[in-house]
Structures are given as C-alpha cells and as structure tokens.
C-alpha cells in the first residue's frame, strides 16, 4: 500500500510536466498508447490472436477493432510464426505493425521469425531494409494459469543481437515506453507484466508523452545497496525497500525499463554509490539476465563491490502450475534475505 502510493507519487513527479493525467491500470495504459499511436500514424497496425473482436485475452486491445476497423486490427489465424513473419513483410513494405504473442510462453513457434529475421533484417540488407515493428508479449507468473502461461524468456532475447527489449513496471512507463517503441526504427520486443495488468491504477499522462528507450529509472533512492529489477519484479523490490527501510537499511531500487540496450551508466552509478547489489527476475537463474548484470558489475565495478552481487531468480526448473507457483516466484522475503547476505558478507 504505502509502497504503492509513494511510488505513484514518484511517477506523478516524474511526469509532472505531462499533466493532465488520469488514473489507469497498466492494461489501460497500453491500450491508450496503442489507440493514440494508431490515431496519430495510419501506418500503425495491430495483429495477433484474438486481438480484434475479443479485444485480447487480457482486454488490452479492447475497442481498437471498432475504432480502426479490420484492416488495421487483424485477428489472425492461430500461428505465431505467421503473425511475426507477416509483420516482417508489413514492416519491410512500410507499415509499423504491432504484433501480439498471446503469452510469452507461446513465443517459441515465432523464434525463427523473431531471431533469424526480425533481429537481422537491417544488418542482412546493410541498412536498406529495417523493421520498425513491435512484438508485444504478456510475460511472467502470478495468474495461476495452465502450463506455458507464466514464463519469462527475456534472456533468450538478450543473447540474440538485433532486438530492443523493453519491460515496463507500472502504468505510466507502460504508456510512455510503448509510444517510444512504436515510433522506434528498430524492432522492439515489449514485455508486459501480466500479473500487474490490473493490480493497481496510477497517474498516466493523458497526452502522448514518450519515455525514451534505454534509460533506467531510480524507483527509490538509497545508499546501502542497489536492487536491480524490471517489470513485475519491481513490485517485490519496492516491498523489500520498505521492509529494509524499517530495519534501517536504505536500498536503492533501479528499474531497468529497457534490457537492451541496458542503461549501464545508471547501473554503475548506483552500485558505485552503494557498493552492494542484488538483481531480481522471474526467469531461471542459470544463464538468466541476472548473470549478465552480475558479470558486468564484477567486470566494471569490482573494487566498489563490498559483497558478491546476489541473484534472486526463478529456480532452474519448469515454471510450476498454480498449486506450487507461489514457491517459485521471487518475493519480498527472498529479496530482503539477498540484501542481508550482501550486508553480512
């Protein structure tokens, strides 16, 4: 609660320039960004499974079909490779498709198109063709669904050069970052933390105010330790910040917002200040992006590190079905414990 309100204050501040604002959920913020970009730019198209008449299984594209018609909001056949592959052609021929993969767990059939083509087209054609397209994917756990509906595969995207990867953690960022992603000239994979689609409302500027890609956000200032997180896990980091605060530990929370390109300066600045760091993600620990964060910190800030960078991650297992899901997901206590390890090292 307190975390929530103080966070929204933080945003209100960040976006003070951009009043008037309204209180939206993350899902509504994404919807508004899509709507505003489609109004602004006729070359923006939306395609995917159930994005039209149904308005998306999370109701994120609700109302777009009525507003823009079936030529700009396309319910596709059930085929992820087809969705991304057709988007490639649309983008190469001058459109700005925003493709939806219904759940990141169903990204796999699209991996050939995404990794072999979307990520490579500009380089392959030495700049003649580039693909200004966005692939939206709800990701992560917390909604108690069947198998394959809870996964976080960002690490796979990050070892594949050519894709920008953006992950908002709150409604205001969700809107501002998506605006930038749609206007961006490089392909962007835009990951939506589905567990917080409706978890809370926050002030979101009514106007279309893009938030630049590649810039992290200090969600909480602190001096003893840096907690690095993105997307859904920022909530856990903020809760840990509150809990640690009560123990007199001042934890800085760095919300990366963009995973590629990483905001290295913000990362180093924070850790050089605090001397301690932990990184939180839902994906399995092994070869997860937390490893890259730790590797970079020991590479570039070893002498500032008073303790090993701690990783709080999913287990190196399949994401469990709902009865065991709560055991898998990183939570406040695990973040707090990791921070303690850095303090007690």
């Amino acid at each position: 609660m307190t975390a929530k309100t103080s966070e929204s204050r933080a945003h209100a501040a960040l976006h003070a320039v951009a009043e008037p604002a309204e209180r939206l959920t993350l899902a509504q913020a994404v919807n508004q960004a899509l709507r505003q970009e489609m109004e602004r730019d006729p070359s923006v198209l939306v395609l995917g499974e159930d994005v039209g008449r149904d308005g998306g299984v999370f109701r994120v594209t609700e109302g777009l079909l009525d507003a823009f018609g079936p030529d700009r909001v396309m319910d596709t056949p059930l085929a992820e490779s087809g969705i991304v592959g057709v988007a490639v052609g649309l983008a190469a021929a001058g459109y700005r498709p925003v493709a939806e993969i219904q759940f990141m767990g169903f990204m796999y059939p699209a991996v050939n198109q995404l990794f072999a083509h979307v990520a490579r087209y500009r380089n392959r054609s030495r700049g003649l063709f580039h693909l200004p397209m966005v692939v939206r994917m709800p990701y992560g756990g917390g909604i108690h669904p069947p198998e394959h509906h809870s996964e976080s595969y960002e690490s796979l995207l990050l070892n594949t050069p050519g894709l920008k990867v953006v992950v908002p953690s709150n409604p205001a960022d969700a809107k501002g970052l998506l605006l930038s992603a749609i206007r961006h000239e490089d392909p962007v994979v835009y990951l939506e933390p589905k567990r917080i689609y409706r978890a809370f409302r926050e002030e979101v500027p009514t106007a279309a105010v893009p938030i630049p890609l590649g810039k992290a956000r200090v969600a909480r200032e602190g001096k003893d330790v840096t907690i690095v997180a993105w997307g859904s896990m920022v909530r856990q980091a903020l809760e840990a910040h509150e809990a640690l605060g009560r123990e007199g530990v001042s934890a800085e929370v760095l919300d990366l917002r963009t995973l590629n390109p990483l905001d290295l300066d913000a990362l180093l600045q924070s850790v050089e200040k605090t001397g301690r760091a932990g990184v939180v993600h839902e994906a399995p620990r092994n070869s997860g992006f937390g490893a890259e964060i730790a590797a970079l910190l020991q590479e570039r800030a070893l002498l500032s590190l008073l303790a090993p960078v701690q990783r709080v991650a999913g287990f190196d297992t399949v994401f469990p079905l709902s009865l065991l899901e709560a055991h898998y997901l990183p939570h406040r206590e695990r973040v707090v414990a990791a921070v303690r390890r850095t303090l007690e090292f």
């Binding site: 499974e49 159930d50 039209g52 008449r53 149904d54 308005g55 299984v57 319910d75 596709t76 056949p77 059930l78 085929a79 992820e80 490779s81 087809g82 767990g105 169903f106 796999y108 059939p109 108690h144 669904p145 069947p146 198998e147 394959h148 509906h149 620990r285 092994n286 287990f315 190196d316 297992t317 399949v318 469990p320 079905l321 709902s322 009865l323 065991l324 899901e325 055991h327 898998y328 206590e333 695990r334």
Partner: protein, 357 residues
C-alpha cells in the same frame, strides 16, 4: 482442354444420424444393443463430469477449466472404436475420452486445479500428458505411431488437435511426416468452430480441415462430430487402416464448443446467440437418445439410473481430488532430471528451509 489434370480427388463427409437423431439404416454400424447404450451412457457421464468441473471452478475448487460440452459424441464415438493397447496423444480438451480410456477423473480435475500430479497417469494407460502449445502434439503422435510400426505392434496412436491448432506449422509437418513414413497414427481434429474468439471461417479459407489431406497423400474425411455413430464408424475405419499398416488418416470431427473457451473467457463478447441455438438443436446426447428410443433401448428409469451412476462416479472423483495431499514443494525440482544436479539441490534446500519442511 489447355491444362492437364494431375490430381483429382474428393473430400467426403459422413453422417449417420440426422439432426433429430433419425438414422440412415444402411449406415448404422453393426454394434450390440449394449454398445449403443454404452455410447449414450458415456456421453451422459462426460457431460456430468464437465458440469461438475464448471461448478467446482465457480466455487474456486478448480482453476481455469476448459469445457468439452458439445464434443461428447466426437470423443465417445472414437473411444469405442479404439483398442486397449492404442495410444492417445491429447491436447487439452480430451478429458472425456481420457476418462473412457481409464484415466481417473480426479487426476483430470487435479490437472485443471493446477497440479502436475494430474498428468501422471496410471502406468499402462498409454496416454501422453496433455499438450498446451496447440498443434505441437501431433508430431508426437507421428513419433509414437512410427514406433508402433517399427516394433510391429498392433496398436495405433491417435493424435488430437483443434481447428485453431490446424493453422500451426506443426500440423503441416505432422501430416507431411505421416504421409512419408506411414506411421500407425490417426489425426483426430475436433473442429468445434472456434479458436477462442476466432471463428473457423477466419481461421482458414479452406472449407474444411479434412481437405488438407490432399496435400499430404493421406486419406481425409469429415464426420458429423455431433453424431456418435458417424464418429465411431469413421474412427473405426481409420484405426483399421493404420493398424493394418496402410498409414495415417486425417479425421475432422465437425462439432461445436457449447461453452466458453475456458472459464477465463466470455464468449458472449464474440459469439452470435443464433449460432448457439443452431447447435443446441444438434446436441449429440439428445440425438443419440432419440436413436436409442427408436430401438427401444431407452427408458426414463434407465436414464435416471445412468444419471445417478454418473453423478456418483463424478462425486467420487471430487472426493478423491480433495483427498489428495497438497503437493510437496520439492516436487518442483524432483522430476526435472533423472538425478538432481547441484543447482537444484541448492535451490531445493533453500526452498525447504524457507517453507520449513
């Protein structure tokens, strides 16, 4: 004639019961009265099982659930045609036939409750765990069918998928591999007209899924999926073909999803009520009842006792479900590999310390 024909074939549809349950005598399969009764009873049982699941879900005793209402004939007809040693390679809406093939109902409920133990079927049931990534499992059905052929086994693998799944690349690869390797496989596609909110006519411009078979050199047939006799007959023929080593068949069971896609869905947003009306008039259970009546194989009294029996079985499933102890947290780790690697040992330890074993 300027162009020369290099391929000519037709796609057929089989119907035995008309929409009101009147049978085309010539086509009625030679089954015993008891078998006719069984077909009907099994559908009644499935429907009970399904209604109970929807109930449990509403009460928060199950998670998201996918109803099979409307597809009872498609599953009961096939079930009667299959042999004991045959394999099932299901998608996620096959719980009706899974029960008929010996998978305990409480395990099926457990699956929908979010418990992996629900997919550990009794030894020998020869049913692979339900596959969620649509279409992908059809390739497994080809692999199993190929194994059966290589071992000279007398069994067949039945692979299931939906109309939406037929748009995935794996559908194509599976049918093409099947044409080339001639496995002991039957592809059983339940075309229930909808893939969540996408109607079949937006799923493909082909008028049927059955006609896809022309692209793979295997036989394909559409069957009235709400006609349990037709489903039985078409399945029987395809299973025999596979069993005798003549290769795979594509069966499209043309049916209808009477419920929401799952309990997380609201079909009212996208589905015209007239359509539901139209299909309600073709209800598979009602049609078979008319057939039984026409053969004097049905009575109020029997109906009542089926229902009671079915309800009792389903209640026992619920009891068994709720008698299952909560899964132990270590289950997250214990089935990943043949032995626990160091990282899982550590992570398992950490979790057990956290939850206090």
């Amino acid at each position: 004639m300027p162009k020369r024909t290099i391929y000519e074939a037709v796609t057929e549809r089989l119907e035995i019961l008309d929409k009101d349950g009147k049978a085309d005598k010539a086509l009625v399969p030679r089954l015993s009265d008891e078998q006719f009764r069984t077909l009907y009873r099994n559908m009644v049982w499935m429907r009970r099982f399904d209604e109970k699941a929807l109930n449990l879900q509403r009460q928060g005793r199950l998670g998201t659930y996918g109803s099979l209402r409307g597809q009872e004939a498609a599953q009961a007809g096939l079930a009667l045609a299959m042999e004991d040693g045959d394999w099932m390679v299901p998608s996620f809406r096959e719980h009706g036939i899974m029960m008929l093939r010996g998978i305990p109902g409480h395990l099926i409920y457990a699956f929908w409750k979010g418990d992996e133990r629900g997919s550990r079927f009794p030894e020998g049931t020869r049913c692979l765990p339900p596959a969620i990534p649509v279409g992908s499992q059809l390739l497994h059905a080809v692999g199993v069918g190929l194994a059966l052929k290589l071992r000279g086994e007398d069994s067949v693998a039945v692979g299931f998928a939906g109309d939406g799944a037929s748009s995935e690349g794996d559908f194509h690869e599976a049918l093409n591999f099947a044409g080339v390797f001639r496995p002991k496989t039957v592809f059983y596609i339940q075309n229930n007209q909808w893939a969540i909110s996408v109607p079949f006519k937006q799923q493909t411009a082909a008028g049927s899924i059955a006609q896809r078979a022309h692209g793979y050199g295997i036989p394909g047939i559409q069957v009235d999926g709400n006609d349990v006799l037709a489903c039985y007959a078409a399945a029987k023929e395809a299973l025999e073909r596979a069993r005798s080593g003549e290769g795979a068949t594509l069966i499209e069971a043309h049916t209808y999803r009477m419920e929401n896609h799952t309990t997380a869905d609201d079909a009212k947003k996208y589905r015209p009520p007239e359509e539901l009306e139209y299909w309600s008039q073709r209800d598979p259970v009602a049609r078979m009842r008319v057939f039984l009546q026409s053969r004097k194989l049905w009575s109020e009294a029997e109906e009542a006792s089926f229902l009671e029996e079915a309800s009792a079985r389903v209640d026992r499933d619920v009891e068994a479900l709720e008698a299952m102890p909560a899964p132990h947290p270590s289950e997250i780790f214990d089935h990943m590999y043949s032995e626990l690697p160091w990282n899982l040992v550590e992570q398992r330890e950490a979790l057990l310390n956290e939850v206090g074993r």
